[in-house]
Symmetry: C2
Subunit: 139 residues, 2 copies
């Protein structure tokens, strides 16, 4: 709790009740949540929460570098509380978005082909190992 407030303050974000709770949810659920997942979790604790607040807060968090935005699913934005550079796999079978451990040659590059780069998104789409082994078991 105190921790969360400190995190927000370190990024110059006023630690409101709603913002703290949203940050808490991001920390607890290590996945790559979309707005509705976060909103549904929030409803349990703040029944009056507005979805607009979730959108606004996540925009603020993204601006201040507290979360990363993923466009790996075409329908909606996903939010990643892990801001260390890493890539993602979208399993087309179970729909999960999974961190993948790859050594990206450009992770620390500041430019590419003469263009300056500020952000890198690496997306893989396929079948996750859990789904693969479930399929194999079913045989």
């Amino acid at each position: 709790m105190e921790e969360l407030i400190k995190i927000l303050q370190s990024k110059n974000i006023q630690p409101s009740h709603q913002r703290i709770k949203i940050l808490e949810i991001l920390e607890k659920n290590k996945g790559h949540m979309n707005v509705n997942m976060i909103y549904d979790e929030l409803l349990k604790e703040i029944p009056t929460i507005s979805k607009t607040t979730v959108y606004n807060t996540l925009s603020t968090f993204a601006e201040k570098g507290l979360v990363h935005c993923l466009t790996i699913t075409p329908e909606e934005m996903r939010y990643d509380y892990d801001t260390k550079p890493h890539h993602h796999l979208l399993c087309t079978q179970c729909g999960r978005i999974i961190d993948v451990d790859v050594r990206c040659a450009y992770a620390d590059a500041m430019e590419i082909d003469g263009h300056s780069i500020e952000e890198i998104q690496g997306y893989f789409k396929g079948t996750c190992k859990e789904c693969l082994s479930r399929d194999k078991a079913k045989h």
Copy 2:
């Protein structure tokens, strides 16, 4: 024209008037168009074209591997007629989506971390070299 029909047939797509024209537009405009860009071009030649047809056709093309779908812009889908594996830069200044020539270590990989992969999307976001040099000129 005959060329385009052959391409469609080779992918088992009936070469209808609309589909041929959409393919023609994709070939001509080498960019990374969205549905509205394609639709606006089409209107010049087929004033009765329906946006639903554009969506349906592009879905078919994507299914049959004739185009690749890019989710680099969060608002809308972009379509790439160049299906050879390559990555993209979104210039946050001019909005263009530009092919980048990088040697991706995973381009030909079939699996990663135990997950099987069918598709790779590599996105860079930053400022393109044209915008950089324009900025510098303005000084």
